[in-house]
Amino acid sequence: MRYLYELRESLRIALAAIKANKARGVLTTLGIIIGIVAVVTTMTAANGLQNSFKESISAVGSDVLYVTRMPWIITGNFFEYRNRENLTLKEAQKLAARLSEAKAVNPSSYTQRDIKYRANLMEAVTVVGTTDKYIRVSNALPEYGRFLIPQDVQYKRNVCVIGSEIQEKLFENTNPINKRMKIGRYYYRVVGVMEKQGSAGFFGGPNFDRQIIVPITAFIKTFGGANRSFSISVKAPSQEEMADFEYAVIGEMRKIRKLKPTEKDDFSINQMNTLMNAYNSVMGVIVMIGLVITSVSLFVGGIGVMNIMFVSVTERTREIGIRKAIGAKKRAILSQFLFESSVICLIGGVIGLLVAYGVTALINNLMMPASISPFIMAVALLVSILTGVVSGIIPAIKAARLNPIEALRYE
């Protein structure tokens, strides 16, 4: 209880001191504000990147395995992968026949073509040749119109389902259904538009909003299929059985490829986690570097606070003497100055958070989805208080150790 009264007095002195030196307080706080804005914005941007990345690869599906010729993330010897045989449509059919427990098995192939509608042109758009089962391994659904149906595949129809970005840019947001557009040199009829899935395109990830889905048979007919490698997506019976299911897929693929037990796999199995892990390891490093750099500005702000605290202690030497003479112990004086520096920094932290909130809103509008999480807020406030304590501790100790007689005599 007794300490509580002392602490309340310390807080009261701190607030009074800050109120009495407003201009000084504002200037000192500025350093902390800038520091907190920098740190918070870095963390928020990192969070935003991660979220939009997660969102965009969620279309990949976390319970789907992708059998490909080469792994998505190549580590080690590239040439080992380069000489692998292509995965053929026939192998995909064999795999589908063998994996009766799979929810869906779907072959796809990819190419890039310029696309055209009237005078509008988009260059190097990803064209996906696939089947009606695509929709079962991906999480996305058509927004307008329909997806591919078995007849499209069976009769090699030149129809396509376009991504939301293509509707926006190529069709300028008009209704594209049943319009004829050119993919490369061939005409395709639009039958559907996919819902918006978000993009991880800014750092080289897939952009599902900027792709066109066509029947795999029409794809082979128009873009050629003899030398293509297909990727086979296999949806596991359940999320829990992913690990076991992966072994089953590997086993069946080895049988299809007639591999001897001593031979290595000549195909790769990928899943969403592969991408996520690669992303996390790269982003982790970038965010760490960002935080270190931004922390420097907070550190400089902290030095400013320390400086002002030394001034404050010197200015109030006599007051410290009076307080000591009437019975203030060391800890009372110590907490008085620690409170002052912490409150300065906390005010800076709160203002910094408000500014960062605005910056985040701006990022959200102009660049990518971003928001300040409660966790980041808590961290920012804690960090600002910590900065206050760290930069106030030396001046506070100096004050607490003052000799009352000399302090009383100080002019």
């Binding site: 007794r2 009264y5 002392e6 009076i322 112990k329 009372a332 007689i405």
Partner: protein, 234 residues
Amino acid sequence: MKALDIRNITKTYHMASEEVRALRGVTLELEQNEYIAIMGPSGSGKSTLMNVIGCLDTPSSGEYFLEGVDVSKMSDDQLAEIRNRKIGFVFQTFNLIPRSDVFHNVELPLIYGGLSGADRRKLAEAAIEKVGLSDRITHKPNELSGGQRQRVAIARALVNNPSIILADEPTGNLDTATGEEIMQVFNDLHAAGNTIILVTHETEIAQHAHRTIRLRDGMIESDEKNGVLHPTLS
């Protein structure tokens, strides 16, 4: 029990290579409710003695019992506690906290003493009433006259009901008339049972006390009862 019992204390300062012997063996006893003046020219060790009595400083050797408690070898924080409970300071320059109002200045020792808000209010208001400043309770020091400021300082000194009120040149910054008023406050406090030590170099001020101790070169030169009766008793 004696209010104060000082036995052969010395205080030596080390300044650069020089040794300054500020006190060279002072022995002094004070009964409860005594009213004494300590006099002496500058350099006599007057301030040093006052600092030791006020528990702002510890003696180099010798013993000091304050109400039977040996305070001569206490740590800084222990001394702070003693100052808080047993000593009331009144300074020449008032030494009030500038940004705080009268009430807060007076309650401050009680805050460091750990009293609750209600107790503090009761005691502080009583002390302010004793010095006749009840109508100035929310004023800041810079809104008060010199005499009023010193009254606030006296209220702060007696709010904890200390064993000793230690006044260092309490009238030094006041004109004669105001000084007399302040001395009247001390006289009243003494009449109410307080033990008062007055440090001064003015003989007229010292005359208010009942006993005068003169210091010279760090030793007690004389220690005599004042002949003049206390004005309130005459």
